[in-house]
């Protein structure tokens, strides 16, 4: 899922300084899983904002709403009936959702309540780890299911660098060396011969490096 983490309360309060009526928009998908912007986090954030304002003797009215997703028209439309009653929207969905809300409600200021970071997985409750960089040209079949782009700090394509020691990356002693993981996995799968095959220089145009991307499925368009 897309992993994000909530901005500090201080930063959010600063953004909200001029406003008295706020819609706090959560999302029921990725940010719920990584406990950054789901219904529960919306409740906690709204409570924190109200407490902080009350402490300073100021009022604030917060409408808490958690949409199914903020990346689809139909769900964002659900806000339309009451959006006019509020001054600003504070969204805690991922960056995509925040932007889509801003696109749909052009006359409203939309503020980001989270910092969107990576595509990742849940290792255990409370711990999320990066797995995918969205490079657009997946080589997982060649590397035993471990991504050299996302899991190697240098995104090397043909083996570990000299900084790999005891299976750890030189960047951080707690970071596993991506290539060590790949080699271990290829051994387990009896595919170590794949390690000898050279993966050619990567064409990064399929990644963000080629510009903002779009995907079309003509057969699905009405």
């Amino acid at each position: 899922m897309i992993v994000a983490n909530r901005k500090s309360l201080e930063e959010i309060l600063n953004m909200l300084k001029p406003y008295k009526k706020v819609i706090l928009l959560g999302c029921n998908e990725c940010v719920t899983v990584c406990a950054a912007g789901g219904e529960r986090e919306v409740g906690v954030l709204a409570s924190e904002i109200r407490l902080s304002r009350a402490k300073d003797g100021q009022e604030i009215e917060i409408k808490e709403q958690t949409l199914e997703r903020q990346c689809d028209h139909e769900y964002i439309d659900q806000v339309r009936p009451f959006v006019g009653d509020y001054e600003v929207i504070l969204s805690v969905a991922c960056g995509a959702g925040i932007q889509y809300v801003a696109e749909k409600y052009r006359s409203k200021v939309v503020l980001p309540g989270v910092n969107t970071t990576f595509l990742g997985v849940t290792l255990e409750q409370g711990v999320w780890s990066e797995r995918c960089q969205g490079c657009g040209e997946c080589v997982l079949h060649l590397t035993g299911g471990v991504c050299p782009i996302a899991r190697c700090a240098k995104s090397l394509l043909n083996g570990p660098c000299g900084g790999s020691s005891n299976g750890k990356c030189e960047v951080d002693k707690d970071l596993d060396c991506g290539w060590q993981l790949i080699i271990d996995r290829l051994k387990e799968l009896n595919q170590l011969d794949r390690y000898e095959e050279i993966i050619p220089v990567k064409d990064w145009t399929s990644s963000r490096d080629g510009g903002p991307r779009k995907r079309l499925r003509e057969d699905l368009r009405l």
């Binding site: 309360l9 409740g43 906690v44 409570s47 109200r50 009350a54 402490k55 003797g57």
Partner: protein, 116 residues
């Protein structure tokens, strides 16, 4: 045991402190209370196995949130006791009341709208 404890302590009964959510604690402060404490089973003796450990973690997190908000995490505490320890219950009630008395009323109080 018919022991006395301060009258300002209002008890909210839950089946396990693990039931207590961070939002419940924050909403309590929003309603204007000066302090909140959780009284859970002794560690290792939670009737539901780990509820009190979850509560401990949540209390630690909520204390941080309260510090950020400016109310002060010292207004929230976690205590452990056996349901057989009546004396400890009264002792904790007195201890917490004294602590909150020193801290003073919650700054949020004056802004709480009272329903007529």
């Amino acid at each position: 045991m018919r022991l006395n404890y301060p009258t300002n302590v209002k008890i909210v009964k839950v089946p396990c402190t693990g039931r207590v959510d961070i939002l419940l604690i924050l909403r309590a402060f929003e309603s204007g209370v000066d302090g909140v404490y959780l009284a859970g089973c002794l560690e290792g003796e939670c009737h539901f196995l780990r509820g009190n450990l979850r509560a401990k973690k949540r209390v630690q997190y909520a204390k941080k949130l309260l510090d950020e908000v400016g109310l002060g995490g010292t207004r929230l505490e976690m205590y452990n006791m056996s349901s057989a320890q009546g004396q400890r219950f009264a002792e904790v009630a007195r201890e917490m009341t004294e602590k909150i008395r020193v801290l003073g009323p919650s700054p949020v109080k004056k802004n709480v709208k009272r329903e007529a």
